[in-house]
């Protein structure tokens, strides 16, 4: 696969410098998303045809402000830049700097130049710079820095031909050394250079400065570095501030030379005016709240149309296949295991697409930073981030896209907590379960004359989920200990009209990631659950029809009723049924019997399966969809064999409601948490925590009410 002649070009720049626009422009639809080896940081790569006829591999590195890392993302970038002898070392770095603010972007640029990697400077947003009345002397800039300079506009592609031409041309390492390492460190740097054959002073200096970023070195070399550090009593970070000051000194002088005309900031006046409204103490929150409702409404309501279409289509395929395929285990696996499994994955695409359209617009326009600005004070108290509001709110529709949306949170701890508590928000899949149980146990009456009692209970359950999420966040904030200090220090970018193709790329990327990564796990669990529900020990299932038909009490039943009875019998004697019976002692304190136990197991695929399982087990399966009163009536008539009273008493009903509010009961969420946290640790902690919370709460509710 590795093609030695394929040039590797890395894109590097500050957040908001327009790096993703440039990446999308250069690579188009030839993008691949993977991970940097062994870590959770996303690696986007793509291919770009250069004017010399060759192809180049473009690597999009995470946006950073400096090569001194503070987060995992930054550490990965530092590692890529410091490791000059790996097959993954970029042949060329394109540093993208916001043309309206060179100063801050040049800090990173000068660090890269000093590392001695062949560098091209792309000055982005030159249209805005022109509008702002800014003008630079590019020739003298290129001369002073010793690197090619290309003005571009990544939004519409202006200047990209020239950039590609520069990418194709041979390019040496920059000859300039902008920051000369401190006198005190020269001896240590010299030793590193000879011992580890490092060919650049600043790179060797960074080896001393960054003890945590040297994973690419052999154990032996790492120890050598750490010995040299001790021998020369070098403290990482000691000189970092002084280096930054010296670099900015150089940058200020450089800017004085090359700036022909400076900006007077008047171009920002629209942005400033917009902030007066969007960050207003009344209008600011009101607009944000309306926006949240709009997002929620669209994920909740608009997505249902395509979701139902997908659901229906897969149901039809499944029915069609079971009618045409010869009867047998394989056909059953395909029609009842695989096809519904794929359908279950595809179903989420509309929600993911819609949510990420919104999130991408919020990010692109610069509003997302304002969301953090508005919400930081409140959310911080619970160990969450200002950006956590969007995932939590979206979680009310569906936890899958919501958890994927936590990518926007930079702080690891705040992001992890958000991921852990988001599934506690009552999602739309809980609604069918809530509806049927509430209809069963809450009388259809009005409270205070006009509130529907059933509606109030439903609202209470949503509130309960929200309170549980917030309190759990607070608890986890106390429990999860990290060295990483929480701080904000965030740019409030100037407002911009979103670039629609970037929105499209984001939607595509997120959907692909979900279907491929989470899809694999969802598929596997669906097949396991299908096996559990369709097979039983011995031949008890194959003989189901005979057993039911030959039973004298069933002689008077119609064909339909007989089929339902057989389905119920099969489920009861399947492995799922056996597990349901086995866990009966465990769930008895919650007020449940083995039939509810089976529903708990099968609804692990997705909560709404609870209703379908109830229908099957009460042998009214095939008519449940058309006539939901049937299942309600049947459940209402069910007798508790121990007490002789009703099975679904208010105590049992509320216990179940609380259980479904808190329990994880969703394999897709587990799959997506696994993908987002890159391991089984957090999904397992989450599963255990939520199940325990559900169990204990349901236990308390049942014991109090009965």
């Amino acid at each position: 696969m590795a093609n030695p002649s394929l040039k590797k070009i890395a894109l590097l720049g500050n957040p908001n410098s327009g790096k993703s626009s440039l990446f999308n422009h250069l690579t188009g639809l030839n993008q691949k998303i993977g991970n940097f080896p062994g870590v959770t940081v996303e690696k986007k790569t793509g291919h770009c045809a250069l004017p010399d006829g060759n192809n180049a591999e473009i690597i999009d590195l995470p946006g950073i402000y400096s090569i001194y890392p503070r987060s995992l993302d930054e550490q990965i970038v530092a590692e890529v830049l410091l490791d000059h002898h790996s097959p993954a070392t970029p042949d060329r770095i394109v540093v993208i700097v916001d043309g309206t603010n060179l100063k801050r972007g040049f800090l990173l640029l000068t660090q890269i130049i000093d590392l001695g990697l062949p560098t091209i400077l792309a000055l982005n947003m030159m249209d805005l710079a022109a509008k702002a009345g800014i003008s630079y002397d590019f020739n003298s800039l290129s001369r002073e820095l010793g690197v090619p300079v290309v003005p571009i506009n990544a939004r519409n592609g202006v200047g990209l031909e020239e950039l590609k031409r520069q990418m194709a041309q041979p390019l040496d390492s920059p000859s300039k050394q902008i920051f000369s390492i401190w006198k005190e460190t020269e001896a240590a740097v010299k030793q590193i250079r000879t011992k580890l054959s490092v060919d650049n002073n600043y790179e060797a200096y960074q080896f001393l400065e960054q003890p945590n970023t040297l994973k690419f070195l052999s154990e032996e070399n790492r120890q050598a570095v750490s010995r040299i550090r001790t021998d020369f009593s070098f403290f990482p970070g000691k000189f970092q501030g002084a280096e930054t000051i010296q670099r900015y000194g150089f940058i200020q002088d450089l800017l004085n030379t090359i700036t022909l005309k400076a900006s007077d900031n008047s171009w920002k006046k629209y942005s400033t005016r917009l902030d007066k409204i969007l960050l207003h103490k009344v209008w600011g929150y009101l607009i944000f709240f309306v926006l949240l409702i709009l997002i929620f409404q669209s994920v909740f309501a608009w997505a249902t149309v395509p979701m139902d279409l997908i659901d229906g289509a897969f149901a039809n395929i499944s029915t069609y296949l079971s009618s045409v395929l010869p009867e047998g285990a394989l056909s059953s696996l395909i029609a009842e295991g695989l096809i519904p499994g794929i359908g279950g994955i595809m179903m989420f695409i509309p929600q993911i697409a819609i949510l990420f359209a919104f999130i991408s617009i919020l990010e692109e326009s610069g509003y997302m930073a304002r969301v953090v600005f508005l919400m930081d004070k409140i959310m911080r108290k619970f160990g969450l981030n200002g950006k956590s509001v969007v995932p939590l709110m979206s979680g009310v529709a569906c936890a899958i896209p919501a958890i994927m949306a936590t990518r926007t949170i930079d702080n690891w701890k705040e992001r992890t907590i958000t991921i852990l508590v988001t599934p506690l928000m009552s999602c739309s899949a809980r609604l069918p379960v809530f509806t049927i149980l509430i209809a069963l146990i809450v009388p259809d009456q009005k409270a205070f004359g006009f509130f529907s009692l059933q509606g109030l209970v439903l609202m209470g359950l949503y509130l309960l989920g929200f309170v549980a999420a917030i309190l759990s966040a607070w608890l986890m904030n106390l429990l999860i200990k990290v060295k990483e200090r929480s701080y904000l220090i965030m740019e409030l970018p100037t407002y911009r009209i979103p670039k629609w193709s970037n929105v499209g790329f984001t939607i595509l990327e997120k959907t692909k990631a979900f279907v491929i990564e989470a899809g694999k796990i969802i598929m596997a669990i669906s097949v396991i659950l299908w096996v559990l529900a369709s097979y039983g020990p011995g031949d008890s299932l194959t003989n189901a029809s005979e057993t039911i038909i030959q039973s004298p009490e069933n002689l008077t039943l119609s064909k339909q009723e007989l089929d339902d009875k057989i389905a119920a019998y099969k489920l009861e004697h399947s492995y799922a049924g056996i597990i349901g019976k086995a866990i009966e002692p465990v769930i008895k304190p919650l007020g449940y019997d083995w039939k509810i136990g089976i529903a708990l197991i099968t609804s692990f695929a997705a909560r709404e399966v609870f209703v379908g399982t109830m229908a099957t087990i009460y042998s009214i399966g095939s008519v449940a969809d058309e006539d939901s009163t049937t299942i309600k009536e049947r459940m209402r008539a069910e007798i508790n064999v121990d007490t002789g009273g009703k099975r679904f008493t208010p105590a049992v009903g509320f216990s179940l409601l609380v259980f479904y509010t808190f329990a994880m009961q969703c394999m897709s969420t587990i799959a997506v948490v696994y993908r987002e946290t890159k391991g089984w640790k957090w999904p397992m902690i989450q599963l255990v925590y939520m199940t325990l919370l559900a169990y204990v709460s349901a236990f308390i509710v049942f014991q109090l009410l009965s």
Partner: protein, 77 residues
């Protein structure tokens, strides 16, 4: 505090000052990287509706920080 040092958290909207130094070493490294250097001019723009975080202008762009972070920046005035 007559003639004493003041920090950014104590500034008022619209007020301008010059960065004198920092009272937190860890934050100072990050702040300086973001262009908030000793000697550079700072303008205090506004606070968030709940009083925290705050927005300042420095090095030609807008930066938001929490009050406790703003308090780590000393200014001359």
């Amino acid at each position: 505090m007559a003639g004493g040092s003041k920090n950014v958290a104590e500034m008022h909207p619209g007020e301008v000052g010059i960065v004198a130094g920092f009272t937190d070493e860890y934050l100072s490294l990050k702040l300086m990287e973001m262009g908030c250097l000793p000697g550079s001019a700072i303008r205090f723009n506004f606070t968030a509706p709940l009083g925290d975080p705050v927005c300042i202008s420095v090095s030609g762009y807008e930066l938001s920080l929490r009050l406790e972070e703003a308090a780590a920046i000393r200014i001359l005035n």
